[in-house]
């Protein structure tokens, strides 16, 4: 019933369909980059440096003569991977901590949530910058830094839902019938926690992609010559005066992907949280 309603609302939602199509294309680029990419994204060819868009290089070349289109195609790998992995880290750890805090309560709740409050006392991007400083550059560190900085938000959402439902009559009834804590969590509590966390997760995915790109732009994340959209914009910024296309295309790629994630995220929110439908 829920599935058919979701499917119907998806078919009726043009922006969500466009967003999904774009994300599928991006996913295909990430998966099949070696097959799709016209050139090697790393090999330098100084004879072709700073060439404008042409038949040979559709989006031009950068200051090392590397094909921008090929680097954007390969860059989708890091963006998608970091976005999904960082959101998953935040989602899984945050949910575990939030459910534990809400379900066990008392001192466990106090300790976990005060810890989350401390993490939340850093602005999101500043916390990611501080963690990146600690871990050093690299793709896996980037995932951890962004994942950990998103963790408190998921923990708060999960805890608030557990607190709201753990004394509901059906949970009390199951407990009276002898259900153990594990069963209560798995059968009665977690199914209620999942939908709001999916809504939060889809919104976080877009933010994770932008944060990753921002950290790479600042030079704190993925290091050259690995292709990455944020780092490509950073490399291209000195050419904004005369070779405008160099920072234009990778930034456009980030915008289109994040826009698509937001469109899909809005649809997911409409389906799973109908109270907000049509309001935002």
């Amino acid at each position: 019933m829920m599935r058919s309603r979701a499917l119907r609302s998806f078919v009726q939602n043009g922006p969500a369909m466009v967003g999904t199509a774009v994300l599928l294309v991006c996913l295909a680029c990430a998966l099949f980059a070696p097959l799709i990419s016209p050139y090697d994204p790393i090999v330098q060819n100084t004879a072709n440096r700073l060439m404008g868009p042409s038949a040979a290089h559709w989006l031009g070349t950068d200051d090392f003569g590397r094909d921008i289109l090929s680097r954007i195609i390969y860059g989708s790998r890091t963006s998608m991977l970091v976005g999904v992995a960082a959101t998953s880290i935040g989602l899984i750890l945050g949910t575990l901590l939030g459910v534990m805090a809400g379900f066990v309560g008392k001192k466990t709740d106090q300790v976990i949530m005060r810890g989350m409050d401390i993490l939340l006392s850093f602005p999101y991007i500043l916390l990611a910058i501080v963690i990146m400083a600690l871990l050093g550059p690299g793709i896996s560190n980037l995932m951890i830094a962004i994942g950990v900085s998103r963790l408190p938000i998921f923990a708060r959402v999960a805890r608030s839902i557990v607190l709201a439902i753990k004394h509901n009559e059906y949970v009390d009834a199951a407990r009276t019938l002898g259900a153990r804590d594990c069963r209560l969590l798995a059968r009665h509590i977690l199914p209620n926690v999942v939908p709001p966390l999916i809504v939060q997760g889809t919104a976080s995915l877009a933010e994770a992609v932008v944060t990753a790109a921002s950290l790479n732009f600042l030079g704190l994340g993925i290091q050259p010559p690995t292709p990455d959209w944020g780092a490509m914009v950073s490399d291209g910024r000195r050419y904004v005066f005369d070779k405008f296309f160099i920072p234009l295309f990778p930034g456009l790629a980030i915008t289109v992907v994040v826009l698509s994630m937001n469109l899909v995220g809005d649809w997911v929110r409409d389906v799973l949280d109908p109270r907000q439908r049509q309001e935002i």
């Binding site: 602005p123 991007i125 910058i129 501080v130 790109a213 732009f217 600042l218 915008t255």
Partner: protein
């Protein structure tokens, strides 16, 4: 309410202690030795040891942390490893620039966001609504560093209307009073510097404010739609008031309450997230200073900058939380 304020204030020193510890440990355990980065490959082991001793890096971590906390309390944050300048002087010079940028970005996001959101709600379902929602969606989807570069390309390079970077033209001279350029130029009645400051501020503020403007537009629209359906708005219309008065006096004033708190929170985020915008526009703020210091492993500068930004963010959030109840008496804290 009193209990809530008391609990928050009681927890504040704990938060500040934890922030200082996280910042201190994060930079200490970061890969890379500042002594080696300063001396590079030419240094002998003895020279490196002398430098570490001079900077206090040969002390135990606990002793270094105690020195840092003592310094933070007394206002002596030490000297930067690079350039041998007092950290506090760097902060005094840079922090007002970041605050100025954050205030300007908040103004931009408030003006654009509230206008777009209110227009969208009033014209719900029509082209203006769709246009406003699309712009808001783009606002929250564009990475600020890319938007900044595109604005530079358009307004500075192509149209030649606005400057590319910096806080004001370097040929101009201004006596600093508060460190806030616009305020100082007003105090000194230096209209040329004021004009230059405003022109330099426009693009960074528009860049940093665009994301928040998108969020504010979405909240304003949602809040306005809710308020426009209320009985008192219907009563105002029934009394024969013009639509303009109904919308902008009765509805918007009430719809804007939750938006004010969003703006407060965004202001805090602007301070922490300024590093990206400041890097694009070479804005001499504390965010750029922090990133540069991290890359150089300048421990005293990183500790002081990150601590200041986090503490300011915590205090702003506390003020925003407390202001909820003042703005909306229906809210009760427990």
């Amino acid at each position: 309410m009193r209990k809530f304020i008391f609990e928050r204030l009681l927890f504040l020193p704990v938060v500040l202690f934890c922030i200082s510890l996280i910042v201190f440990l994060a930079i200490r355990f970061a890969p890379g030795d500042p002594a080696e980065m300063t001396m590079q490959q030419f240094a002998t082991e003895a020279e490196l040891a002398r430098l570490r001793n001079e900077w206090g890096l040969d002390k135990s971590l606990l002793a270094q942390y105690i020195d840092f906390v003592k310094g933070a309390i007394t206002g002596d944050l030490g000297r930067s490893f690079f350039g041998n300048v007092q950290v506090i002087d760097q902060i005094k010079e840079r922090f007002p620039a970041t605050i100025e940028l954050a205030i300007a970005s908040t103004v931009v996001s408030a003006c654009l966001g509230v206008l777009a959101g209110a227009l969208a709600a009033v014209h719900r379902g029509r082209w203006l609504d769709h246009l406003s929602r699309i712009i808001a969606l783009f606002g929250i989807s564009m990475p600020v560093f890319w938007l900044g570069l595109m604005l530079i390309a358009l307004f500075s390079v192509y149209l030649g209307l606005l400057p590319v970077s910096g806080r004001y033209e370097t040929r101009l001279v201004l006596d600093p009073v508060t460190g806030f350029l616009l305020l100082d130029s007003l105090i000194n009645r230096d209209w040329i510097v004021f004009q230059s400051g405003v022109r330099h501020l426009l693009l960074p503020a528009l860049t940093m404010g665009s994301y928040a403007a998108g969020i504010v537009a979405r909240f304003t629209r949602s809040s306005m739609l809710e308020v426009l359906g209320q009985d008192y708005v219907r009563t105002a219309r029934a009394k024969g008031l013009s639509e303009r008065v109904v919308v902008y006096v009765h509805a918007l004033r009430n719809a804007i309450l939750p938006v004010v708190t969003i703006l407060g929170l965004q202001f805090g985020s602007f301070l922490g997230g300024a590093a990206v915008t400041e890097t694009v526009f070479a804005w001499p703020g504390i965010g750029k200073l922090l990133v540069d210091s991290i890359l150089l492993r300048d421990y005293p500068q990183v500790q002081a900058s990150a601590l200041l930004l986090a503490v300011t963010y915590v205090l702003i959030n506390l003020l925003v939380d407390l202001s909820y109840a003042l703005i909306d008496p229906r809210i009760k804290y427990s």
